[in-house]
Assembly symmetry: C2
Homo-oligomer: 755 residues x 2
């Protein structure tokens, strides 16, 4: 059923009269009319529904005359829309619904939020009643732009007749999008009747409605047609997507057309998804789904904050678009660099290198680290990779004396899909010579001890081959080494005995790796605290501390890949802070822009930077991308970083105290439910860190990427309005740093019910 | 000197009265006032300057009362600003200037463009006189948002007193940025005097001005302070940039702080650059510079089109932000994919893979091509790169029977800075194991014949070692092979004899490369027509045709890197179209989003796509980035692609005719000047293609990247307001596809004068 929201560009533009005209046209067309006027405040003066009500007495749906929350309004309007749909179904008649707003797009709703923001979750297509008077071009166009910047479609702008109607129409039409049709009614507005008597619509109004009847009939027909077009477009989207897209990480042969998710829009943490319905019972409609995969772990803000990010990007786009960066500067890049150095980089980083995504940030980091390694060892000549397989023998000879550079990292790591980022991890099914014959795992990758919450306890699991080291090196006997903790803080506490054991383990493998071979480990690279793509696996903090300490003691640069873990994802500004590690280089992306668009930053110490200082340009870091430090992304990032830490925006901030001496997020996930889930029969273990809740399911037979248990759970969650994506045998729920705890609780409850 | 532009949120909000109040305050402060009211149209009614004029009779600068172009207005206002500055200098007094607009931000200027667009090139900070009446929150906020989306700073919103002033103030303040101060004047507006008599300001107004004097004094002081803050911020930008940024492709040790370019804003093809001036004569100011490097070859639209891109991005940001892409769809991605397949992909491409930048688009392309190669040769087992230098000998053994996969390409190529893209080119100073020890040139790279315009003739230069082949294979004798052409079309014409010779050359080298070695060429990758980073070098089309034909005859996928050459950069939708090549895979970025933000697309044939179809997910193309197909970028791209081909937006479109059977751009560069420059003593040769004009300078001694001649020319151009960047010994001018030919002519004239 077509549903439109009526907006006025200004007061006294005749919004209610246009409603009345449309109501009358609806009556003539034998459609069922529902008219909802959810807000009836004292202003503006034209917010009086009595005219329309008079015409359609059954449709009086003035829901509230007093202050209510935006959510209450949504619920009420949605109930009204449902009733309208039911009515149509009962009478087997087509319907149309109009929801009339009060005042202009930026007039406050009862809650105080702007109406354009208040109604945004419904994103109903808009009829904007423009201003046909002197000066009305500006108010009409600015109202239109404000609606558009919230993502509203505005198929029609209606102007009342008048001396300025024609010039206004032409000017407005020239400055709105082609798909917005600016329509002028053929007769000037009548004076509003002075009486409140419902039955006494005065003659002028009646006459006006009659004179304008053909125009309103045409307008109504247009609205119905535009609605149909929109639904057709959504209905065809699945097929068009299947035909034209090559999706990332997707085996297309297994994706059925019907299972393609057509996303109509996003509103904060949720998106509206097209449901084709079935012809008999449920018509096609949009359904809100909670984005529990946080759109590949990028999403940063709840609905009411989205307009702030939009506004900051629109300003940057208007002010800068993009400007070339090398040897240049602009304010958004300056502000962002300062914020990063004062934030995630505090106490260690000196320089910010911008690039476009996590993968490029990693490529840059590796180039930085390798150069630094070589710079600090001027006497050594390093081998290059054999560039010509025909001369392998010579290359091999060269290698005997000139070492090839490797990284040290963890098994199960993931740093991105460009070749340099791929080469810096151990081989996995995702990352082998079948994906690219050029792939070559270049490093020593150790299987780390991991941590999970099971049976209400945080448990450290040590890989079997590491046991010996722990036994040998731990000061206490094996049975005294604490591997189970009632609280997560215990795992993060200083556990020097275990850390020493880990260090010995690392040193031993390091030595083996280099021993008798032309190979040197030149950098450490790891995802701190939590491996994301690897299956939401929490690493024992003591192991990562041991790794970083060992490297830095040997003057090997430590790269932390904070693309997933950084910027409040784990409840702290950075995972490095949780570990107490000061890296030499670290990479940030994803949450950096609040979930809006790609931008990444590689931070480095001044000491790393100095390794590139030279007379020759050829010794500079010769890496760059066209849109490096693009102003729009930098602005989004500056705003996002502010929103995360603004107590008026983020309800989850926890002031520093002795236990957590820096700003952090409160625990988002309900303790009781977490405890229950950790004891659930189907759950192997949980990872609960900041905005991340992940449950590794017990599997029968195949585990890892081949497991199917999580697929079914994710499917069940989608039926309950939660858009989850499985990750091997892990099902996870990810929220934004600003998500209400109540929302997190509901998500856990739903997960509990489908398990 | 502080300069502010006065805007009204609506008619009758008291803009002129606020001007009058500020004028009086200026008088009291012993500053020199300049008041400019450039547009005096019939509406809106409050656009009457007589009040302010009465107060400051010398400042009557109503420039035009009739329709003029935006450019004329700018010139006039700039002249007024200069006069004001001169006056202050003469009297050795501080000054302030107000420029009053007519009507609201979106009221039309005399030219018909919206005033917010018309005045955008000046980007003067705005004083917005808000609406203190009922309904005024909405009109004030929407006016503010429209100004902000054009990149205006709005330090102050002024509201007249009235019954709604306080609630309006609070609501407006809550919905604008913190740096915007919403100020309420202490007294209600007086009624405007009815008389036009300049000397007869009526008592009510006088009284109001007197009562509000302290408020206006405070407002003036605030405006002066905000101006100073802005200049301080700009003045400190160079130092902050030098301290915090790690620029791409930059040897920082050679960048002096003073030479850092602080960019205040962009307006279409130009940006405003901060000039610190010197204390005695020239104060700090902003200077417009023409962005002749097109910000690393990204910029796509002239100034008047920038708001359209902004609007489309703001809508997408408001509607979607970003939503996860795999197995999903949203309208901007669908629209963009369709446009690409119907455009650059027409006749060959079947699928679109999105990623973030040119480099990632290339990595994806290589993965696609290599898989296709292997898929089509199921019997062969391919070697993997030796993953362990300790086992090189075994690897070598394996290689003897299992070939390693290489690409074929051209010397001097460039495809990006991630490792996979780097490995696909020949070694250059930019691309070696010093940059990353992991670099390994993996292919056969042939030095191609090139083309340049010298002495008024298009000349093909054939590398010396290719001569023999041309001699042997060309049907005619050597002296009959045409290598000089009066027109560029000649070079692009069918030159079968030369092409056959090239083909033989390619086949011979190919055979040599594979012969007796465990190496197979599995893909061709090249930049069609023009190598950008390699120095704006035009390749002989016959050579690239021979290369593509030879590869496709042997079922070797051809990748065209159209990141630079594609999307109208060379005057055609794609360079493939110019060559008449149908690639198997092609990459697009840069101009794709109109110069706004990073987004790239890798297009492939359905046959390439089919090579990834399998029961197993592990056989899918396992490559992706978090923000794949981000809606904001897709929307910008859809809009940009439309703008390029919309005759109402792009003055350079040339309808198809027999000679050029598809849409193309007219020749942008003045023929006569081009001819002159091709004969210039300092010019070796020119490349003139579409939006690109490049001059290779004659060098003494060092050539290539080490040459310094172009550096000086670029410096000289900057002094003339043209922001050029040298590229080795090449200096180039690059415009947008929509740049006026008049602008191109001026650029050439300036280049001519500095040569």
């Amino acid at each position: 059923m077509p549903v439109y929201m009526m907006w006025g560009a200004n007061t006294d533009v005749g919004k209610t009269l246009v409603s009345a005209g449309l109501a009358a046209a609806t009556k003539r067309s034998n459609r069922l009319l529902t008219f909802i006027k959810p807000v009836q405040t004292g202003f503006p003066e034209d917010s009086d529904a009595r005219l329309v009500v008079w015409l359609t007495p059954s449709a009086d749906s003035c829901l509230f005359g007093h202050a209510v929350t935006d959510a209450q309004l949504h619920t009420a309007v949605l109930a009204g829309l449902n009733d309208a749909a039911d009515l149509c179904h009962q009478h087997n008649l087509p319907g149309i619904t109009f929801v009339e707003t009060a005042g202009g797009p930026a007039s406050p709703a009862p809650s105080g939020s702007l109406q354009c923001d208040c109604w945004r979750p419904l994103r109903l297509p808009a009829i904007l009643v423009g201003d046909a008077r002197l000066g009305g071009i500006s108010t009409s166009v600015t109202a239109y732009e404000t609606l558009r910047a919230r993502g509203y479609d505005v198929p029609v702008i209606v102007l009342a007749a008048g001396s300025h109607a024609r010039p206004n129409r032409d000017a407005i039409q020239a400055n709105v999008r082609a798909e917005t049709d600016v329509v002028v009614l053929p007769h000037p507005l009548p004076a509003l009747p002075a009486t409140k008597n419902r039955t006494a619509l005065d003659g002028a109004l009646q006459e006006w409605l009659q004179n304008c009847a053909p125009a309103f009939d045409a307008l109504l027909a247009q609205l119905v047609r535009r609605h149909q077009q929109r639904m057709i477009l959504l209905g065809e989207a699945q097929a068009a997507a299947k035909k034209n897209f090559w999706w990332p990480f997707t085996q297309h042969s297994t994706v059925l057309q019907d299972s393609v998710t057509a996303i109509d829009s996003r509103c904060g943490e949720s998106f509206a998804v097209y449901q084709s319905g079935n012809k008999s019972d449920t018509p096609a409609h949009l359904q809100m789904q909670y984005d529990a995969c946080a759109s590949w772990w990028t999403q940063g803000v709840s609905a009411e904050l989205q307009p702030r990010l939009v506004s900051s990007m629109a300003y940057a786009a208007g002010r800068y678009g993009h400007v070339i960066f090398p040897e240049n500067t602009h304010q958004p890049a300056l502000d962002l660099a300062q914020k990063l150095l004062d934030g995630v980089g505090q106490g260690w980083a000196g320089k910010v290198f911008f690039s476009d995504n996590g993968s490029t940030a990693i490529e840059v980091a590796i180039k930085m680290a390798m150069r630094k390694y070589k710079h600090d060892r001027p006497g050594i000549i390093f081998a290059r990779s054999p560039s010509d397989p025909g001369t392998l023998t010579q290359a091999q000879t060269a290698c005997d004396s000139h070492p090839e550079l490797h990284v040290i990292g963890l098994t199960n790591g993931y740093h991105g899909d460009t070749l340099g980022a791929m080469d810096a991890v151990a081989e996995t099914p995702y990352n082998n010579d079948d994906q690219t014959p050029w792939f070559q795992s270049r490093g020593l990758f150790l299987q780390p001890p991991t941590v999970g919450l099971a049976q209400g306890q945080w448990q450290v699991s040590i890989p079997s081959e590491m046991w010996d080291f722990v036994k040998r090196h731990a000061r206490s006997q094996m049975h005294d080494v604490q591997l189970t903790f009632p609280r997560r803080e215990g795992v993060f506490g200083q556990r020097q005995d275990v850390q020493d054991a880990y260090a010995a383990y690392i040193a031993s493998h390091w030595q083996q790796h280099e021993s008798g071979r032309p190979v040197r480990i030149a950098a450490c690279i790891m995802e701190p605290v939590l491996q994301g793509a690897g299956g939401m696996v929490m690493i024992d903090p003591a192991f990562q501390r041991a790794m970083a300490q060992h490297c830095q003691q040997h003057n090997i640069p430590v790269i932390l890949d904070e693309i997933f873990s950084g910027i409040w994802r784990l409840g702290h500004l950075s995972a490095a802070e949780m570990l107490g590690i000061k890296p030499d280089i670290a990479c940030y992306a994803k949450l950096l822009t609040g979930g809006m668009l790609p931008l990444s930053a590689t931070l480095a110490t001044n000491s790393i930077f100095e390794a590139f200082q030279h007379d020759s340009k050829l010794k500079a870091l010769l890496h760059g991308h066209s849109y490096t430090a693009h102003a729009i992304g930098c602005s989004a990032a500056v705003t996002a970083l502010d929103l995360y830490t603004d107590p008026t925006c983020n309800p989850n901030l926890r002031e520093p105290d002795q236990q957590t001496p820096s700003l952090s997020l409160v625990s988002l996930w309900d303790d009781k439910l977490v405890d229950q889930l950790s004891r659930h029969a189907r759950v192997q273990k949980l990872t609960v860190l900041g905005t991340v809740f992940a449950a590794e399911l017990k599997t029968e037979g195949v585990s890892g990427y081949g497991a199917t248990e999580a697929i079914q759970v994710a499917k069940d969650l989608r039926l309950r309005g939660i858009y989850a994506r499985p990750l091997g045998n892990v099902v996870y729920l990810m929220v934004t740093p600003t998500t209400a705890q109540e929302t997190c609780k509901k998500l856990l409850q739903e997960l509990h019910s489908v398990l």
